[in-house]
Symmetry: C2
């Protein structure tokens, strides 16, 4: 085995270029830590690039690069779920380790890809797929490996967090901030993936699998975006000591409480959380993940969730992991050669494949959260009594009430915060409230979590 | 090789008992993740304990347990730097991997211990030695392995953070909070290690080595405790938008600025940091480490820095790392046996031993920080002009000034915040200020860092 590790970079967009820059900038640090030369031998790019080191072979045939004899590790940073899948499967088939930042691909096809990798005795590393530069995959798979994970809550979409931060800090409406995010390049021209929570749901599916040892089940993530959040609700939340963040939650339910089903909640939605929680103070495009586990308790991981530098850092952390495992530079043991050394036994989904469990994923109506309710009613006597009686009859406990002066003639918004309740119960209660004669509008509801 | 991994726990205090409890509580999670049975075969304890599973051998001869044929991994949680060192060296000599939570021992004798481990082809893992349950060792050695680390700042002593938090939140004086911390068991009867910053300095020495690839140099850490912090300064800091935290800093200086020496700053001291920084909002006994690296930028890691559960989590994360590397359960390859498989090539100090550098550690007077100064002067005309002229002549830039009404007759405290300056310059300026006729007391100074 040669002393150098040969990388192929497939895709030369922001991330691919970031990886090349990182290797140039930190060549010495990489060598000092690994004792190996890490060199890019090939790049897969549709168009020839004149700004790339002429010693690096440029290949428009990505499948050929993925199988090249001149490559130990294939870095896939093309994105998308079609060509990217083909090149990854081809690389695996040819005994290459793979590093990818592709959350959509793994969330949707990870079970198949990881099984194929195990069959071929190679590893598909994906630190960059979740929360950018924050090493949450390594932390959950390795550092928390002795813990039972109870739940996690994460700000895992930077665009959404930027929008929620600007709305709150500057009192700007959603549409206005979204336009700015698009101008700044934080949001795509079609912002659906970000603002509707689909990107966060991809990442949550990955986090939940490695937290609980379950197969990837992106299609079962309950997903609610931030397009309906108004400044009015942001401000009422603040007044009550809460902040609205767009969060992904993965929660293990033991089915021990009243009406509580046993299973796992996978959900992405706007959430009121206490103002003084660290997570509520993670602002702008930053990401953060809060993990609650036994016996460790709560730990929080925060940093840049996107961008060339942060993503390249995560991609190259995976490469360094593989390099440190591919064999030491003085190893001459044939059985320890690149292709066959599967010495690093951290399973793709943190738990060994035969131990993945079929714990059910709960349906939305089975999920348990607190709620923020905004109810608009005519200012007539007894309306508050009617609302609270309906909630009380449904077994829903009220934590706080805020009744504001009428802002339209004769109408008052009533804000109610509830303790955690099964969603089906809340649905029934809201249906009854909306049938009251004194109620003038649909009830606005946003979930609430004390993160306790 | 048998399918089970045999642990010896040396020391049955809070942490040792925590490890036993963790294994009992999370047996299933450990097995699902590792595919192995992790069993405690022996415990080293001076007094026989009746509450321990009778299948576990209790041995008062710790050296014998450290060398036992019935043990794969030795967990040292005795503490101290004498017996603990002997048993660790003995375990290494007998080909055992070691897991330890012993920061004092590693900070003072780590260079020798790690060299001995490398010679014997075993690993000494020490996640629990720094910041308790926060996986900062794994993060810095592995997750940030592709980054050039510029600096780190950490709340790495929970007792100190509890005291600073209570002083600020409740307006209680230092001595009062310290007594409570002792009652709560957060602080020892002799609190010197915590409040004078020695415990933090031990941890900082470890963090700095893995950040920069330098040998452990605990004796060169500049160390200042929190015993001199008064409520008056806590409150002035708040008024100016800062919070005082007891922090450890490791900073790489390139010697490019004016008067800037090239080398590494290792320092533990009270520090004013911006109120809205996440680090300023890490409260109570929590720990947190902020790392600034290229190209990742700032990442923050926060959680419990002490306690049975958090420490046991870190100890067992190290065990899981070793288990996952000791060989897979279906491995029958003889060359892959426990004793000789050094497959996990993450070096003890993150950089390969021959690449550790002799970058100099800077002396206190070479260090560069901002300052908070509290100057007491007679309220006579021209005093402010005198002070600011002295600072200006020394090339020290003032960032903010707060002049409060006199609280003794004729005396006014003047609070000055400065931009970063070399300490030797500040020493000279303060000497001149204290010689002014109008100055009534020693100048109080506390370092300040914008964490930018």
């Amino acid at each position: 085995m040669s002393n150098s590790i040969k990388l192929a970079i497939l895709g030369l967009g922001t991330v691919g270029t970031g990886v090349i820059n990182l290797i140039n900038d930190n060549l010495n640090e990489l060598k000092r830590r690994s004792g190996r030369d890490i060199i890019i031998t090939e790049v897969g790019t549709r168009r020839h690039r004149d700004d790339i080191d002429p010693n690096i072979m440029q290949n428009s045939d990505l499948m050929a690069t993925a199988a090249s004899d001149n490559v130990d590790i294939v870095v896939e940073v093309i994105g998308g779920t079609t060509l990217a899948k083909d090149v990854i499967m081809h690389a695996i088939k040819n005994g290459k380790h793979v590093v990818t930042a592709n959350k959509a691909l793994l969330a949707e096809h990870g079970n198949e890809i990881f099984a194929f990798a195990e069959e071929h005795n190679v590893h598909v590393a994906y630190e960059a797929a979740v929360a950018g530069g924050i090493p949450i995959i390594k932390v959950m798979r390795e550092a928390l490996a002795a813990n039972k994970i109870d739940w996690l809550a994460g700000i895992i979409n930077g665009t959404g967090n930027f929008i929620m931060t600007e709305m709150r800090d500057k009192g700007r409406p959603f549409a206005d901030v979204l336009s700015e995010a698009q101008e700044l390049g934080y949001a795509e021209a079609d912002p659906t993936f970000d603002v509707e929570g689909i990107d966060a749901a991809h990442k949550l599916a990955l986090l939940a699998s490695i937290a609980f040892g379950i197969p990837l089940q992106f299609d079962k993530v309950y997903c609610e975006g931030i397009t309906g959040i108004t400044l009015q609700d942001v401000n009422y939340a603040e007044e009550l000591g809460y902040r609205i963040k767009h969060l992904g939650f993965a929660v293990r339910r033991d089915g021990q409480g009243n009406d509580e089903a046993s299973g796992i909640e996978l959900r992405v939605h706007p959430t009121l959380i206490p103002q003084d929680a660290l997570l509520a103070n993670v602002n702008g495009v930053k990401n953060a993940v809060l993990v609650n586990s036994h016996p460790l308790g709560q730990t929080l991981y925060c940093g840049d969730g996107a961008g060339a530098g942060a993503t390249a850092s995560a991609v190259m952390a995976d490469v360094m992991d593989l390099v440190r495992v591919l064999g030491s530079k003085d190893s001459s043991d044939e059985s320890n050669s690149n292709q066959n050394n599967h010495g690093h036994h951290v399973p793709h989904l943190a738990f060994i494949p035969e131990q993945l469990s079929d714990t059910p994923i709960l349906r939305a109506e089975q999920m348990i959260t607190g709620y923020y309710l905004r109810v608009h009613a005519y200012d007539s006597p007894g309306v508050l009594a009617d609302i609270t009686r309906i909630l009380s009859d449904a077994g829903i406990n009220i934590d706080a009430i805020l009744q504001k002066p009428a802002h339209k003639v004769g109408q008052v918004p009533v804000i109610i915060l509830t303790l955690p309740v099964v969603e089906s119960q809340m649905n029934l209660a809201i249906e009854k409230i909306e049938k009251l004669d004194t109620i003038t509008d649909k009830v606005v509801r946003i979930r609430l979590d004390e993160l306790a």
